[in-house]
Amino acid sequence: MKKELKVSAIKDGTVIDHISPGKAMDVVRILKLEDYDNSVTIAMNVRSSLFEKKDIVKIENRELSEEEVNEIALIAPESTINIIKNYEVVEKRKIELPDLIKGILSCMNPNCISRREGTPKFIVEKKKPITIRCYYCERLMEGDEILKRLRI
């Protein structure tokens, strides 16, 4: 007999899988899913193997833009994106952080020119753990500093 799924399947939409445990709510916030019209299913601490846990976010009737994927890459780089059509996974996308991030977060330095004018830009210096450098003021940002500056 087939095991019952812990998270119900969706017909069309996007499943963000393999999110590090505890990060699901950050993903929800970044994608502004609180106000989303269709159903959103959040699963936390799902056992993915004997030793590992993960979070999952399922969003009905929605595909993610490139910008949104980059945002997820910043906070949950290990997650994967599955695009679902008619209950089938039609595409699996591994999240890849681009070398240059534009516009999705603001610089942590209050004296940075990008806080006053233009579009913030960051060079990805290191992918693990994620370390980015402001293209303008050259400050390094990592971990929580990045999360706090995301336009949530």
Binding site: C107, N109, N111, C112, I113, S114, R116, E117, G118, C134, Y135, Y136, C137, E138, R139, L140
Partner: protein, 305 residues
């Protein structure tokens, strides 16, 4: 090397070859002052200072004029454009119409980079907040090289506010390209940031961190910077620290033949009595800004290669 239209924004953009090339050209400039008197004839430099720095502005203006170029200046850029609500982008785009190269100083970090994105002509960063002041670093390197004929193999001590000091961060970063021994002399509260120490380690540069002049021992260069009162929440702590990092005539006994550098202006961290000694090279250092800026202006305007 063709550096025509290159922006000079940050030492971090520069490879060792770029730095060496600029130093080489600076030396040629210094040797041929007379010959180059009309090199930039017909070129116009705009100096755009959103915060005052008379010294830096005059140094650039002198460099341009010594090459026969013209200078137009917005000394009070802050009051004239920003106050009217004009964006930095619009200001530099307008000034671009009047000139061939722009030197910019701005209180916000990243301003020079933003300006460089907005215009086609070369931008030279003369200080963007606490971030970069690359021509200062180049003239520092030029001074060291001129004094010793080399940079490799030297011991260089940086002293003062190493935590917030833009000058020492840039200089330490640039010295990462050379085979040097570094000594960081600062109070505990104002130590060199770990980012820079990590970078130096990755380049195999050895450094020592100490908290007093007495511990320096032998060094070829002692680079002194000011410790600002604002850095200390407790004024008595500041008073204590301040006296410890002063160069007085009796300090020289500890320093041997070390050459003393300082980005100027100084307040009281180096006694004027030091000025006449063989150790003092900080006024020479200021003068070295001229050939270095002459070389940079000529290079980015594509008049020399």
């Amino acid at each position: 090397m063709n550096m025509k239209d290159r922006d000079i924004i940050s030492i971090r953009d520069m490879k060792k070859e770029d730095i060496e090339y600029i130093l080489e050209k600076s030396e040629e400039m210094e040797k041929n002052m007379e010959k180059n008197r009309n090199l930039l004839n017909g070129y116009v430099l705009s100096t755009l200072f959103f915060e005052p720095s008379t010294r830096t502005r005059l140094s650039f203006e002198s460099a341009m004029k010594r090459l026969g170029g013209e200078v137009i200046t917005v000394a009070e850029a802050k009051t004239s454009s920003a106050a009217k609500g004009e964006t930095l982008t619009d200001t530099v785009k307008t000034v671009e119409q009047y000139s061939d190269v722009i030197v910019i100083r701005h209180p916000n970090e990243g301003a020079a980079r933003l300006a460089a994105e907005a215009v086609e002509i070369p931008i030279i960063n003369a200080g963007d907040g606490a971030n970069q002041h690359p021509t200062q670093t180049l003239l520092d390197l030029y001074t060291i090289k001129k004094e010793y004929g080399k940079i490799d193999g030297l011991t260089i001590a940086l002293m003062g506010d190493l935590k917030y000091g833009r000058t020492v961060h840039s200089l330490a970063t640039a010295l990462g390209y050379y085979n040097v021994n570094l000594i960081f002399v600062s109070p505990e509260e104002l130590k060199m940031p770990s980012e820079i120490k990590k970078y130096l380690k990755s380049r195999g540069i050895s450094y020592r961190e100490i908290s007093s002049i007495e511990e320096i021992g032998e060094t070829d260069i002692l680079y002194v910077t000011r410790i600002q009162k604002e850095r200390f929440p407790d004024p008595t702590e500041y008073e204590k620290v301040r006296g410890t990092y002063k160069i007085l005539p009796e300090t020289l006994k500890l320093l041997g033949n070390a050459k003393i550098m300082h980005p100027l202006p100084r307040v009281d961290e180096i006694s004027p009595k030091i000025d006449r000694t063989e150790n003092a090279i900080y006024f020479k250092q200021a003068r070295n800004g001229i050939p270095v800026r002459m070389a940079i202006l000529s290079l980015v305007l594509g008049v020399i290669e």
